[in-house]
Symmetry: C2
Subunit: 137 residues, 2 copies
DNA sequence: TTCATCTATATGCAAGCTGCACCTAGATGA
DNA sequence: TCATCTAGGTGCAGCTTGCATATAGATGAA
């Protein structure tokens, strides 16, 4: 299937949690100030090694963090290379991280509710002589 | 915050797994033929009671399932009310459900990898005399 | 010096998902 | 007759995301 067009969630059949990069970046920033390019590299910790994150998404999220008051930024010269925009998490951003953690825990509950329904269903399905289970009638 | 505009993921700070309704509908259909309106009601099992699913999304997904060969449909008269479009899962659709299950398991791993990073970080953070942990330097 | 490459940040665009508003229409009962 | 319920559907717009591309300083090799 060539010509994958553009945009969308072309990868796999649709995994991924909405805006999952946000909590990952917040957690990295909770560990200390950093800039976009460095954050991009450190995302590997969260399993973004295979299927890495797109840099444009990261830079956009960081700017939106700043607009919403979750971080402050300033330009800084590094030991080498071009100047970097360095981000520092604010206490408001810390609160936003806490919110995200609670949110992901809820996502986890939803996920496990699905697994539980799935396993429960499959057990009934198999103990009913295959393919005939309807759950009604 | 009034004037919530339209569209988007206005609820909470962004929970939700992309296209999560798909595996839920597939699992329900694996339990036997059904129609949109009935599926909508049965989604409560997956935690869609509070924050219920939108019917338009469901009908659209069902049509897309048919386009992709995961279900077949036919009109049927019920005991009461208007005619219904009844969907039956195909073996291809069953395979798609299996794919989704594997995919959600991967999502679960990613999620727990985050929780693990979070807890690990917070332990270090607290044992380092608060606010000074940088994870580097 | 020139040029490729790396580091670093950023914008434009289009595809895809989703919820809200709205529409159609048969069935049902007051 | 008319409101309401059941059932299915469309249009639209907001939002997220990945790809392509642009910019520009730093670095090192030819």
């Amino acid at each position: 299937m060539p010509g994958r067009r553009r945009g969308g969630s072309r990868n796999r059949c649709g995994r991924r949690i909405n805006r999952f990069l946000e909590p990952c970046l917040l957690l990295l920033l909770h560990g200390g100030e950093s800039h976009g390019y460095e954050l991009l590299e450190n995302l590997g910790r969260f399993g973004f090694s295979e299927n890495p994150a797109d840099s444009s998404t990261i830079y956009r999220i960081l700017r939106s963090f700043e607009e919403r008051g979750f971080v402050t930024s300033s330009w800084a010269e590094g030991d080498s290379g071009p100047a970097r925009r360095v981000y520092v998490l604010s206490s408001s951003g810390d609160g936003y991280l806490q919110m995200w953690v609670g949110d992901l825990e809820e996502t986890d509950r939803i996920l496990h509710r699905f697994f539980s329904e799935y396993q429960n269903h499959m057990e009934l399905h198999h103990s009913n002589g295959k393919k005939t289970f309807k759950g009604k009638e």
